[in-house]
Amino acid sequence: MRRLLYLLPVALFLVLIAYFALALRPGRDPATLPSALIDKPAPDFDLAGLAGAQGLSRAALGGHPAIVNFFASWCAPCHAEHPLLMRLAEQQHVPLFGVAYKDKPEEAARFLAQLGDPYRRVGLDQSGRVGIDFGVYGVPETYLIDGAGHIRYRHVGPLTADALERELLPRLKEIGG
């Protein structure tokens, strides 16, 4: 019994080591936050579109799974993830919608004209209020919304091929998209 008591510090040390190992595991970014809206209804919004084009509203997402991507022409990581979004739009049937976050309409339009437009519709969130309603804290952010209009997954930062294959697409399949 006494001897077991002496082993207690060693046991505590091992628990600490396990905790640190978990917190420091590769690929984990401690600054990435879980969304507070997971499994909750997506916020209601109604945004104007880019010059002449249709805008984007919650109702326009339709009754089926959809991906909503917050981007901005001033955001370098958005340029980085853009080819992946183009591929996603080509290869998957899931509708991809864009929200131009705190961007000038003409610059957002130029961004899409130069790099290609993967979105079915784009909404202009110039004030950033819709971003706040979604809990966006840094573009790009990508949200997966199910047929019932609930947010099921959020990816913060540029999408990578890895994140797409391992996180987003499996979840999309799960909700029948």
Binding site: L33, A36, G128, R129, I132, D133, Y137
Partner: protein, 155 residues
């Protein structure tokens, strides 16, 4: 000279009042509401910088949240309602001081518990030492005689 000191002191005071990242055009006209908004924005984390409050941060999002907070307060929200509005969007992580809830019991009560555990350990240790440190038994008559004999031999 004295006037100079007074002016300098007054200038310093205004500096103290405007410290933080709040820009003049963000402020509410009503000083009472503005004071409430300031107090609340010191409790909210800027999610871009994560260890700064939105009151301190120059990030764009912090600015937007400060303005939003002021709109809520000017619109008649109570402090709790205004905070809740932001918490429902960004989660409890935005609160720089985590609320006391079952999920945060370990955080709040863990350190005092460890301290109490240590105190109990020290108490037990001290108590045992006191009981085991017994006085040596007094010498018997024969031992005492031998001791005096030995001391005498030494001398």
């Amino acid at each position: 000279m004295r006037r100079g000191v007074t002016i300098a002191a007054l200038l310093l005071l205004t500096l103290a009042a405007t410290a933080g990242a709040v820009e003049p055009r963000e402020r509410l006209a009503d000083p009472v509401l503005e004071a409430r908004a300031r107090a609340l924005s010191k409790e909210l984390r800027c999610l871009v910088c994560q260890n700064e409050s939105i009151d301190d941060s120059n990030a764009d999002l912090a600015h937007d949240l400060r303005v939003l907070l002021r709109e809520r307060i000017a619109g008649g929200d109570s402090d709790a309602q205004a905070l809740q509005f932001i918490v429902t969007r960004y989660g409890e992580f935005v609160l720089l001081q985590p609320p006391i809830a079952p999920a945060t019991y370990a955080l709040w009560f863990g350190p005092p518990a460890v301290l109490a555990l240590g105190a109990v350990g020290v108490l037990l240790y001290l108590r045992r030492r006191r009981t085991t440190a017994v006085e040596p038994a007094p010498l018997t008559e024969a031992e005492r005689r031998r001791l005096t004999q030995l001391l005498k031999d030494e001398a």
